[in-house]
Each structure stands twice: as structure tokens, then as C-alpha cells.
Amino acid sequence: MNDLLYLNGYGFYVWGSYVVTFALLAIELVALRKRTQRK
């Protein structure tokens, strides 16, 4: 598990990319969901 997080020293760059990407897509989905529920 630690190896997967560390990724030979590249963990910050790789996970920094993936976490921000999926967080942004999740924010877009939540915002859209709120918009669809608005009357």
C-alpha cells in the first residue's frame, strides 16, 4: 500500500493529478445534481 502511495518518489505528482481530476469531476456532478433538483 505504501509502495502504491509512494510510487518510487512520484506519488505526489501522480496522485496530485488523479485526486484533483476526479475531485473536479465530482464537484461538476454534484453541482449539476443540485441544478437538476432546483425548481
Binding site: N8, Y13, T36
Partner: protein
Amino acid sequence: MTTQTNTRTAGIRWFWFSSPATFYPLAGTIAWIAGVLAAVLTVAGLYVGFVVAPTDATQGEAYRIIYIHVAAAWMSMFLYVVMAFWSAVGLAMNARLAFILARAIAPTGALFTFIALWTGSLWGKPTWGTWWVWDARLTSELILLFLYFGYLALQASIDERRRADRAGALLAVVGVVNVPIIYYSVQWWNTLHQGASVSLTKAPSMAKVMLLGMLLMALAFWMYSIAVVMIRARCEIRESQ
């Protein structure tokens, strides 16, 4: 007479769907299918990218950013072209649904452009030694982000819907010239950014399994974009009534 009628109804009546009211339920169905496909393809792409694909010989583990970086960069350009297409259709035919689709694409296009720049920056630091350089590829991609922002700002700042749509559409159509500049920038100028690993004219210059992971993620982002754009288009239709 019967045969003639059958032939006429057998084809898809495209213009029938150009009415927002008839497009609304269709968009809901498309969003569901694309959403499910996006989820399945994302899981498959991440599995291939992180479990099946080996470590890169030259870039080590840092290369794994490729699976989202390239997919996001492709989507940023593709969505802009589609947005410009619907804008042009809207301008030419004064079609309300075309403007709605262009409006629905812009936020997701801007999001993918930001993701491409963000992940590129995080890839650039360990491989180039810098977060950012003002080279042709990076600068033209940044201009694309500003074009999306400009379109969104125009839409937000003009109260009258039709005027906002036409002004935004004009910007989208003029700005499409930037897309081939981004794509060919690595050939036209001497840049720090590497050339295309995948192109239509030659064999890909990367391992097959890595290519598979990248294509799966590109398809996943494509399906995600379709789903989100359809949901947003439904919101726009509902709010405009």
C-alpha cells in the same frame, strides 16, 4: 403509397429532434447510457493503467499521469470543436437547441482544459524540472482555457438570451482557429513538449498495454462529457421554459 410512407418514417427524423421539447427525453436516455459507460470505462482504464501496465523504462512511475493528461487534453480540444460546430449551426439556422448544446458544452470543456494544464504541470516538474514553460503547446492550451472563460463570461454578462448566444457563438467560431495551432504546435515550433505518441497517420510509439489504458480513459472522459452535457442541456431547456 404505403411503401413511400414506410420509407419516410423508417429514417431518423433529425429535424424532429431539433425541437428542445422532443430532444429533452432523448437527452435523458443518452445521459444514462453514457454515464454507465463512463463509469465502466473509467474502472477498466484505471485497472489497465495502474495494475496491468508496467513501469515506464525512462520516466518511471511519473508516466502514469498520461492516462488522464492525454485524455483530458484530447477532450479539451474536441469539446471546443463541437461547441464551435453547434455555435455555427446556431448562427446559420437560428436554432435554439444548437445554442443550448454549445452552452452546455462550455463548462465541461473548460474543466478538461484546466485538468490538462494541471496534470501537465504535475508531469512537467519531475520530467522537465519545471512546472511551467511559455512554449507553444502550453501557451496555446492556456489560450484555449481563456477562450472557454471568455465564452462563459459573455454568456453570464449579457442579459438578453439571444444576444448572449450570438455573441458567444461568434467567439466560439473565431476561436476554433486555436485548435489546430494546439495540435500542430509541437511540429511547427521547437517546444519542450513531446510530439504526439498516437496519430492517424503512423503507428503509435508506445507499448500496446499503455496505449490501451490511455484509449480506455479517453473513451471514459468522452462518455462522461456526453452524459454531463446532456444533463446540462436538459437543465437549460427546463430553465428556459
